[in-house]
Structure formats: structure tokens, C-alpha cells
């Protein structure tokens, strides 16, 4: 990488790292150090192909999704989410919106990386199922079923969420 390319790369990192870090943070279930590792690895891969990458932002995102899922596949035993006992059900009357969101966070952190990645793509990145399927190299049917199973898992992990309406938005 010559000096000009390196300068462009640095400018890209400065400009895009807040958004990319937010994504890495969510993909790793709120683990700051794993998020740093994930983003750093993706940026290193991007730097290595800087000359040929047309859309660096999209490339980094794609690498992070694949990296996170492949780490999980590689090390699934040690990264397996362990849940001994479901959390106690809170009384509905005193379960505020803030508490519900914290409950959702805890449950999201306990999903598998793939389940979490699908929910992040669908509900944080707000991408349609076809685009999620393209990024994850899988079928639209797999995206749909994984989304459904991930939401069901959230309800299973946090019974407070079971009372919420069970409607899955359908996007083309």
C-alpha cells in the first residue's frame, strides 16, 4: 500500500469506525473486546485488498458477518451459549419499557452468533430478506426460518417477552 492509499484507508477508518464498531458490538453480543477483535480483523483484511475493494464499507460489514459466524462454527463448543435456568418472570405491572429492553439485550447476548447476526441484519441494518440471504450466502427460506427461530429463542430465554404480539413482519 503506497502512502496515498494508506492515507485514504486511514480516512475511511476514522469516518466509518463509529458505525462499524456499533455493528461489531451488536454482532458479538455487547462484548467490547470481541467487538474490537472482530472489527480489527475485518479492517486488516480490507487493508490487504484496499486497491481492489470498490465498496470498503460494505466489504468490512460482509467480512464481519462471515468472520463472526465462521468463528462460531470453528469454536462452537467453547462459544456455545449456556443457559441453566430461565430468568424469573417479572410481574407485568412493574415491567417498564426500559426493563423490557434490558431483558431483550440479555437474551440477544445469549443467542448464537448466527441467530444474532440474522436479527442484526434484519432489524438493525433493516435489510430485506433477499439482501440478508445474499450477504450470508444462504437461501431466503433459511433467513426466514432463522429469523423466526431467533425470535422464538428470545421469548424462550425471557418469558416476559412471550406476552408480546407474535407477528413477523414480511418484507419483500
Amino acid at each position: 500500500m503506497d502512502a496515498a492509499a494508506e492515507r485514504h484507508f486511514r480516512e475511511f477508518v476514522v469516518a466509518r469506525s463509529p458505525a462499524l464498531m456499533r455493528l461489531a458490538f451488536l454482532l458479538t453480543g455487547g462484548d467490547r473486546q470481541s467487538a474490537e477483535d472482530l472489527l480489527q480483523t475485518a479492517l486488516a483484511k480490507t487493508a490487504a485488498r484496499w486497491r481492489t475493494v470498490g465498496d470498503p464499507d460494505g466489504y468490512v460489514r460482509r467480512v464481519m458477518y462471515h468472520q463472526q459466524v465462521s468463528w462460531w462454527r470453528l469454536k462452537w463448543r467453547s462459544r456455545e451459549t449456556q443457559v441453566a435456568v430461565p430468568p424469573e418472570r417479572a410481574h407485568e405491572d412493574d415491567t417498564s419499557a426500559v426493563e423490557l429492553k434490558i431483558t431483550v439485550r440479555r437474551a440477544l447476548a445469549r443467542l448464537t452468533p448466527k441467530q444474532r447476526a440474522v436479527l442484526v441484519l434484519r432489524f438493525f441494518e433493516d435489510l430485506p430478506e433477499t439482501e440478508v440471504a445474499r450477504i450470508l450466502d444462504c437461501s431466503v427460506g433459511t433467513v426466514r426460518s432463522t429469523t423466526h427461530r431467533s425470535l422464538a429463542r428470545l421469548r424462550e430465554l425471557s418469558p416476559e417477552l412471550a406476552a408480546l404480539k407474535n407477528i413477523t413482519e414480511v418484507r419483500p
Binding site: 473486546q33 479492517l43 480490507t46 440477544l108
Partner: protein
């Protein structure tokens, strides 16, 4: 509200807590260079490849291990919660985080004073602290895992807890019963202090039931026991052992001066490393570089002039001269070589009972900058919380 909407809102708000570490571009470019070096080395021959593999161990398809002495810049961002006591949000400064805190309840049983601690542990998923059922715990450097003990103490097993899920992933059963825990500085070994009876029941002077300690290799789960009975010059029932800064020696507390007595890992007495022998419980000790030493009030003692407010001192151990005086009550932990986490009262109200109304602050060595980290509490009142600091 639909679950999808709730997930959408939760992800959006949660993502706002992400923080960009310094030097991301540098780190990425450095790793790219290492990868290239490895490629060249593999072509150059087997001997070169071995050396290059050592250099590039973190370039593969797995997350880089992150020891306490990681070369990668750690997250040193400042996190405060100055309006809450105990804190509801994560508190950290420089290399140090408030990883947990406990609230102590005192009662009297059969004429003996009994302490019962309730521990609250940092939960990365919520960014706050969650109440735990554990009777005792210690958090490993890096905040990825903790060691926990079930009550009543002493207990026959140690749990290794994943901080991300807040669940115990493994139990290690011990023949001798455990009452105290301390992670080694590299986070790879656990020092478990063992007792014959509860270390939290005060039965009178010289009645501590400490029997010894285990050194547990966390990766293998193997635990080696060593006998080290309670010191007769320490009146406390709880006499937990700790690690030297390097992790090469252990220390036991005393009730006298020096405050720590050192041993090698097999329990044989050793001379104290410089600057480490007279650090009282909860004192910050040596700075990260080892150049500065946190001291108590420089004006205390007979014949010394008294100041109007609280004061602590930091000494430059290379010159034995004062590097600065701070308007705080106790220096608890180093954030970096120029800042400490301290216990501080309101300087204008710090006389009489006012000295017990205090909070955690970040103070510069020169004493000129004081940043509140938590809200105030009356720290000698029932329900007061006590912090546990851990290297990030």
C-alpha cells in the same frame, strides 16, 4: 408492542454504547504487515517460518487472545455514573474498571460478629451491575470471566463464570474448603485461600482458620494445595492471599508493618519485591510503570502540620520525592501513571461525620483535576457498597 419493534429499538440503543478504540487503523495496518511477513517467511524456509509464526499468532481465523499485558491498545475510555450510588452504569477509567461491588450486612450470632456480603457483578450485556447469589468472587483481568464461591463459606468448589452470559461454565472441586479468591495478573491462574471455618465470622483475636491455598491452572483445571496457616500477628479472620505484581510471588496480609509478607508459589518465605511490602488493603500501591507509589496522608503523624482538608501523596520511587498531593481520602487504584481512582469526600464538608460521606473520583497525580466517577454514599452506614477494581 411487537417483539420485532422491541428488538429493533433495543439494538439501536444498545449499539450506541459501542466505543471506538484508539489506533484502529494502525492496528489493522500492523496486522496486514504481519500477515505479509508470514507469507514471505513461509517461502523462505522452515526456520524462518517458525519465527514468523510466533510473530503472527493472532492473524489466523480466530479472535486474538488478550492477556493482561496485551500489546494491542486496550479500551481506556472513561465511564462514569456520578448520579448513582451504588453505580447503575459501568464505571471505568484508564486501565482499571469497577468490575463488581459488594454490600456487607453485619449481624451477631452466638456472641460473634458475622459478615454477609451480597455481590453485584458487571454485566456487559446490560452495561450495568447485576445482583449475584455468590458469597465471594473475583473478576479476572480483561473482565471476560470471574471466579465464584457459593455460600456458606468455606465451600468445596470454585465456579468459573463467563461474564458474557453470567453463567458458571465449569466447577472445580477442591478437597480443602475455599473462602478467598485472587486471579493472577495474567488471568491464567487462580489463587484460592482455604479455611477450616468461615472467614467472615469474627470469633476473637488469633482465631483465623486459614489452612493454606490452592494454585489452580484455569486452562487445565488442575489444582495444587499448599499449607500456609493463619499468621498470628494478623487479628483478622479473613486472611486472603494475593499475588505480587509480576505474578511470581504470593503475599499474606499482616496486622503490622510491613503489611504484606511474601512467599514463593510453594509457600517458602521470600524477600518482598521493591515497593510492594507495605501496601495496606485497598491501597493503590505502585503505578502501572512502577515509577510512582501511592501513599497515605503526608501530613499525618506527630509533629507534622495539619491541613484543612483531606490529602494523599504520590511518591516518585526513583527519587523518593513527592510527585504530587491530592485532595482525596484514599488512593484505591491506578488508572494510568498520571491518574488514580480515589475515595474522596466533599472537600468543604470533610470534617467530623463528613469524612464518611464520600464517592469514587478520578484524580490526577498533581491533584489539580478531580472527576467524579460515582455518586456519594455514607460509607460507614449499613448498606454501603465496597468496590472491586480489576485490570481491563
Amino acid at each position: 408492542m411487537k417483539l420485532e419493534t422491541l428488538v429493533r429499538q433495543s439494538l439501536e440503543e444498545w449499539s450506541a454504547e459501542a466505543q471506538v478504540p484508539a489506533g484502529l487503523a494502525d492496528r489493522a495496518l500492523r496486522r496486514r504487515t504481519r500477515r505479509r511477513i508470514r507469507g514471505i517467511a513461509l517461502v523462505a524456509g522452515a526456520a524462518a517460518a517458525v519465527a514468523a509464526t510466533t510473530l503472527t499468532v493472532d492473524v489466523g481465523t480466530r479472535p486474538a487472545p488478550r492477556p493482561a499485558t496485551s500489546h494491542a491498545p486496550m479500551d481506556t475510555s472513561l465511564h462514569t455514573d456520578p448520579t448513582h450510588s451504588p453505580p447503575q452504569r459501568f464505571v471505568a477509567a484508564g486501565q482499571t474498571a469497577l468490575s463488581a461491588y459488594y454490600i456487607r450486612k453485619q449481624s451477631s450470632v452466638g456472641g460473634h460478629t458475622v459478615f454477609q456480603d451480597t455481590w453485584y457483578l458487571y454485566d456487559a450485556a446490560t452495561g450495568g451491575y447485576q445482583r449475584t447469589p455468590w458469597a465471594h468472587l473475583d473478576v479476572a483481568p480483561g473482565l471476560r470471566r470471574a471466579a465464584v464461591l457459593e455460600g456458606p463459606l468455606p465451600t468445596a468448589r470454585v465456579g468459573l463464570l463467563d461474564m458474557k452470559t453470567q453463567k458458571v461454565t465449569r466447577w472445580i472441586t477442591l478437597e480443602h474448603r475455599a473462602g478467598g479468591l485472587a486471579w493472577s495478573p495474567d488471568g491464567e491462574r487462580l489463587l484460592v485461600t482455604t479455611y477450616g471455618r468461615s472467614p467472615d465470622v469474627l470469633a476473637g483475636p488469633r482465631t483465623s482458620s486459614r489452612t493454606g491455598y490452592y494454585l489452580v491452572n484455569v486452562a487445565s483445571g488442575k489444582a495444587a494445595f499448599h499449607t500456609l496457616p493463619a499468621a498470628t500477628d494478623d487479628f483478622n479472620a479473613r486472611q486472603d492471599l494475593g499475588w505480587s505484581r509480576s505474578g511470581g510471588l504470593l503475599w499474606a496480609p499482616t496486622s503490622t508493618t510491613p503489611a504484606r509478607r511474601f512467599y514463593d508459589l510453594t509457600g517458602t518465605p521470600q524477600p518482598a519485591p521493591p515497593g510492594e511490602d507495605d501496601i495496606q488493603a485497598d491501597q493503590a500501591g505502585l503505578s502501572p510503570s512502577g515509577r510512582y507509589l501511592a501513599r497515605g496522608n503526608p501530613y499525618a503523624g506527630p509533629g507534622r502540620p495539619r491541613t484543612r482538608g483531606p490529602a494523599t501523596a504520590v511518591e516518585d520511587v526513583t527519587t523518593s520525592k513527592a510527585a504530587g498531593i491530592q485532595p482525596v481520602e484514599q488512593l484505591r487504584a491506578w488508572a494510568d501513571d498520571a491518574h488514580l481512582i480515589a475515595l474522596a469526600c466533599d472537600v468543604k464538608k470533610c470534617t467530623g461525620r463528613g469524612e464518611f460521606r464520600n464517592r469514587l473520583v478520578l484524580v490526577s497525580v498533581d491533584g489539580k483535576t478531580v472527576t467524579p466517577l460515582t455518586g456519594y454514599q455514607i460509607n460507614d452506614a449499613p448498606g454501603a457498597w465496597n468496590p472491586l477494581f480489576t485490570h481491563r
